[in-house]
Symmetry: C2
Subunit: 384 residues, 2 copies
């Protein structure tokens, strides 16, 4: 029996009646259940994922138990929280389902802020332009869900150019990107990749085939959007994040999107006269924390709309806890964002020190996310 079922059963018990399945009151939707608690907390929590909640595909630091404490017994949210990660590669809708299943609590897509979530703000600029999406997972599906209409994954883009990757004979990718395939087929009638210039390149998630991706991005960027043809201006380049390293399943940190950016930039600046221009999103960029605060506010207002309607528009958190494992990314970002952010550092990921981090000290250092949640709930006088 899943946690959600447990919560729903507990909810029925708390309501102090025993409804039959036919009872119309029993058929209340889950969103209605979410609204049954009137007290709106004046604090929120943002959780990093990799190195705090999970490592690889396994939950760590008592994360599952810690998160359950943020729900009422009836499954409604007790504390507004979201996940704030630089990771990505799948749409927020899909990632929320994956996290719900892994952690045994109901996570809504609104509670999942991925590295590439800010790309949504660029739809008005690139909606009908040819763009290329780079990275693991389903980068073109992510961008299409945001509303970009002419997006090709770099896998498909490269496949239009014979010999663009001189090492392709040594590799056989078995990526299953049915969306990309469909995209490609429908695109063939829409435009000609060999004559239309790419107007923007988006690194959505960690690139898989670095050599090919650096080669093809250099081809796109140095020739003004069309490999080998012309010398136009460099099209805009966006990175979802800039993590140099992050904690995955291997004992030492693994190289992240920031490392890929360094590789691309170092090479590009050697083969091209003008230095590479790009924009990086993701933590520690303060705009990401501002956006997370705004999302948490929406979540609080949606979850607790019954009372306080008069003051809803002026609602502001007294404090938002950022629980992360990476001093440079999580702590640094929360510090730069300022009020109301309160960074908490765990020892389950990148940071492994005994005391605090030397360069980016957190307001609190704990062993695990469970310890962090325990601290917060006690400090905020929340029963659990």
């Amino acid at each position: 029996m899943g946690f959600r079922s447990v919560l729903l059963r507990a909810s029925r018990a708390r309501l102090r009646y025993s409804p039959s399945p036919e009872d119309p009151r029993f058929r209340r939707s889950f969103s209605q259940l979410l609204h049954s608690e009137p007290e709106r907390p004046s604090f929120g929590i943002a959780f990093d994922i990799d190195g705090v909640i999970i490592r690889g595909r396994t939950t760590i630091g008592g994360s599952s138990h810690a998160l359950r404490r943020l729900y009422h017994a009836d499954g409604t949210l007790k504390v507004p929280f979201l996940f704030l990660t630089n990771g990505g590669g799948v749409p927020e809708t899909k990632r929320s389902l994956e996290l719900s299943e892994l952690l045994g609590v109901p996570i809504s897509p609104l509670q999942v802020v991925l590295g590439h979530s800010p790309f949504r703000q660029l739809v008005s600029r690139f909606e009908n332009e040819l763009i290329v999406a780079v990275g693991k997972g389903e980068p073109s599906l992510v961008m299409a869900e945001y509303g970009f209409k002419k997006v090709l994954s770099i896998n498909d883009y490269a496949s239009y150019f014979n010999h663009i990757d001189p090492l392709s004979q040594y590799k056989t990718w078995s990526l299953k990107q049915s969306f990309d395939k469909n995209c490609k087929l429908s695109f063939q009638s829409k435009f000609n990749v060999h004559s239309e210039r790419v107007k923007g390149a988006f690194v959505v998630s960690d690139p898989v085939d670095w050599g090919r991706d650096i080669q093809v991005l250099c081809d796109i960027l140095r020739y003004g959007g069309l490999p080998g043809k012309g010398n136009g201006h460099q099209p805009p380049l966006y990175f979802a994040a800039d993590d140099l390293e992050y904690q995955a399943a291997f004992p030492c940190e693994r190289l992240g999107m920031g490392a890929f950016r360094i590789a691309l930039e170092s090479i590009y600046n050697r083969i091209h006269s003008s230095p590479l221009e790009y924009t990086s999103y993701g933590k520690p960029n303060p705009s990401v924390f501002k956006n997370a605060e705004s999302t948490l506010t929406k979540l609080a207002l949606t979850t607790y709309p019954a009372k306080e309607t008069r003051v809803s528009k002026n609602f502001a958190f007294n404090i938002i806890y950022m629980i992360g494992d990476n001093p440079k990314v999580d702590v640094n970002g929360a510090k730069k964002a300022g009020h109301p952010w309160f960074p908490i550092l765990t020892r389950t990921g990148v940071f492994k020190g005994k005391d605090n981090d030397e360069h980016f000290p957190a307001d609190l250092v704990v062993d695990t996310v469970e310890e962090a949640v325990d601290f917060i709930l006690k400090k905020e006088n929340i029963q659990s």
Copy 2:
């Protein structure tokens, strides 16, 4: 009928007798045939391969015809020549067979100087040490043929460490490296990869999986030869070449081993306090030209030993022509090497200018390798 058969038939005609297959004189070896011409030319030629002789897998610039002019009709060498390339990934024995087939002339392994050929000089230092070989093709076979006894390809080395590449789930390599597999099996009983430190890393040929290779090399180099364990000194790192770009089948140049080195170095220097230390071989390193001169001398002495035995030890070329497509690599290297090198630049590869290269001007610029050979043979009064 192949060129070799043609040459052998012509040879028989020139000897002015019509031997039956039983005639013992007919059963002379090819090496004996090589020795039948007494005049030793005082010049030699070094040919770059990619962008001069072939592009991708296709011969270019009349290379096949040009090379045939360097042989006598009987298949013996008229002009001492070799291939001097920064490419590699297969042993010299195998590459010479591939080139013989592609070009229709008999090429001996001595005539093939690859990027990694200088690694042979390091056998005495690393013969019984655990080393890792990186790159396309059969890097560990190459090193084993040189005499290194404990070599693992980076593919196999990485396979011992679970989760070392967090993106492995997104890729499926279909590399066929039966040698590596055999190596791995026999190695398992010899030592433990999890406790024995890697004593040297060799980038033998262009890396295929840049992301994984940069990650694993960083793991080996920053932790003193054992991923995640200890903080020993960086083991020595060797690159077979340092080409930033080279001409392959695609119309624009492709990124080469030098680009990979820049990527690795830029990332390593960001995650480690001491800068990356490495040694690069390959053109334009003058030692490579010195070594090629010495090999050409051996070739001349082996091919024309009959006369002039008294002066053999003092034999020296008046001139060696370097025919290349890359000003920075071929011309620059030949210029730096000085006497007796004479750089000739073709327009079939990296260089596409009308006149001479601005930064590294060659002594002669021609359209194709055929034109270069024509110039040389006329200048040296060689009949063909």
